[in-house]
Amino acid sequence: MKKAIVLIVFALLGVITANAQCNNFTKKKCIPSLAPYIHNGQLNSTSLAVGETAELDLTFYAGQEYRILVCGQEIFKDVKFKLKDRNDKELFNSEGKSEKFWDFKINSTQQLKLEVTTVGDDQNKTGLAEAGCVSVLVGFKK
C-alpha cells in the first residue's frame, strides 16, 4: 500500500512539474505574441510527442475579431495548424507560412475545429522519442 502511495505522489509530481513548465513557457514565449489582441486568459496547453496531432473545438462569437496563436517548444522543427468548420471544410492552413498566428473576423457565431500537428525528428540522440509543450492561445479585440 505504501508503494502505491509513493507511486501516486510520484505520478502527481510529474504531472505538476510538466504543467508548471508548460505554464512558464506559455507565459514567457507565447502570450507576448498575442499583442495587440487581449488574451482570453485560458491556458490551453498540452504535452505532445513529435508527429502527434491534437484537436480543439472552439466557439467564436459573431462580430468579434480574433487571433489564434500556436506556440511549440524548440524541440519541434515546426508546429502546423489547420482551422476547419464542423463539416471538416478547411478554412486556414499554416503550411508554408512563417507566422504562427492567424487573424480573422467572425460574422456569425461559429463552432470551429483547430488541428495542431508537431513536426521534428522522431527520436533524439538517446534514441528516445521527444515530447514538448504546445500551447494554443486565443486573443480578441475590444
Partner: protein, 302 residues
C-alpha cells in the same frame, strides 16, 4: 470563445510514467499486494491520461463582458451577485463556483468603467481565490496595478485577464482541474444570467437575444468539460443541472449551412461567415431563462 483540447494518440509522458509505475509494482513478491498495487497503478495511469489528453476551456470573464458591451447591453449593478455573500461561502465547491461568478461580475464592472464597483468585486473575487488557497493570482501587487491603472480601461482588463490566467494555471498545475471546471461553470452561467437580465430590460436588443441563443454551442463544450471528471462529488451534481439546461437548449433549431472564409485583398483580413443561425422563440427563451436563473440561484446561495 470556448474550446476543448484532445489528442489523437496518447502522450509520451503518460505511458512512460505508467511503465515505470508498473515496473515498480511488479517488483513486489506478495501476489495479493501486487494485484492491489497494479490496480492502484492503473488508476494512476488513468489520472495522468485524463490530465494530459483532454483540456477544456470556455469564454473567459473578460470575453463574456466584452460580448455584452459590444451587444449594446447597459450597465446594471443590481443584477450582480451581492458582494456581502463572499464571506458566506464556506465550502470549496461554492468558492470555486463563485470565483467564476464574481470574476465575471468583476470583468463586467471593469468593462463599463465602474471603478468603485470594480474594487469591491476584485475584493470579493480575491476572497474566493484565497479561500481556495490560490496564490499568485490576486495579490497585493495586483491591487496596486489596478489602482495605478484606474483610468486605463484596457490595462484594467488586461490585469483581470492575467489574474484569470494565473488562477486557471494554478488550479491545473496543482491537480485541481475540477475546481477550475467549477470556476469556469460559475463564470459562464453568470455571463449568461447578465445577458438574459439585460435583454429582459431591453427586449428590442436582438443582438443580446441572439447571444443567449448562441450559447447552445458553448454549452456543449461545458458539458464535455464537466463530464471529464466522472465521480467527482462536487462536479457530478453540477453536471446534472447543466444537462437539464442542455435539454432546453437542444430544442433550439440550428440551420446548418456552409462556412465561408473571405480574405480582403487590401487589408489581408479574413472574414468567416455563414448563413446558419440558431433561432429561439419567446417560449424557448422563457424556458432557458428560467433554467439559467434556477442554476445561478443554486450557485450563489450561501
Amino acid at each position: 470563445m470556448g474550446n476543448n483540447f484532445r489528442k489523437y494518440s496518447t502522450s509520451i509522458v503518460a505511458p512512460c510514467m505508467a511503465a515505470m509505475a508498473i515496473m515498480l509494482a511488479s517488483s513486489c513478491s506478495n501476489t495479493s499486494e501486487s494485484t492491489e498495487e497494479t490496480r492502484d497503478t492503473i488508476k494512476v495511469e488513468q489520472t495522468i491520461s485524463q490530465a494530459q489528453k483532454v483540456l477544456f476551456s470556455l469564454p473567459s470573464p473578460v470575453e463574456m463582458a466584452m460580448l455584452l458591451k459590444n451587444g449594446g447591453a447597459n450597465y446594471d449593478k443590481d443584477i450582480l451577485n451581492d458582494i456581502d455573500n463572499a464571506s458566506k461561502y464556506s465550502t470549496n465547491s461554492k468558492r470555486a463556483l463563485n470565483l467564476g461568478v464574481y470574476g465575471t461580475d468583476l470583468a463586467y464592472t471593469a468593462m463599463y468603467n465602474q471603478t468603485q464597483e470594480t474594487v469591491f468585486y476584485m475584493a470579493a473575487t480575491k476572497k474566493m481565490a484565497d479561500g481556495l488557497g490560490i496564490t499568485g493570482a490576486f495579490t497585493d501587487k495586483t491591487a496596486e496595478r489596478m489602482e495605478a491603472n484606474q483610468s486605463n480601461n484596457d490595462s484594467i482588463l488586461a490585469i483581470i485577464s492575467d489574474s484569470y490566467y494565473e488562477t486557471d494555471a494554478f488550479l491545473k498545475e496543482n491537480d485541481r482541474a475540477s475546481a477550475s471546471a467549477l470556476m469556469i461553470a460559475g463564470g459562464w452561467i453568470e455571463g449568461l444570467h447578465l445577458a438574459i437580465k439585460v435583454y429582459e430590460k431591453s427586449p428590442k436588443n436582438q443582438k443580446l437575444r441572439q447571444r443567449v441563443a448562441d450559447e447552445k454551442l458553448t454549452l456543449t463544450n461545458l458539458i464535455g468539460l464537466l463530464e471529464s471528471y466522472p465521480g467527482d462529488e462536487n462536479v457530478t451534481p453540477i453536471l446534472a443541472e447543466f444537462q437539464k439546461l442542455k435539454a432546453s437548449y437542444d430544442k433550439l433549431p440550428e440551420a446548418n449551412a456552409d462556412v465561408t472564409a473571405t480574405t480582403d485583398e487590401t487589408t489581408k483580413v479574413t472574414t468567416i461567415g455563414a448563413s446558419s443561425q440558431i433561432t429561439m422563440s419567446d417560449e424557448q427563451f422563457r424556458e432557458i431563462s428560467a433554467a439559467v436563473e434556477s442554476l445561478r440561484e443554486g450557485f450563489i446561495k450561501p
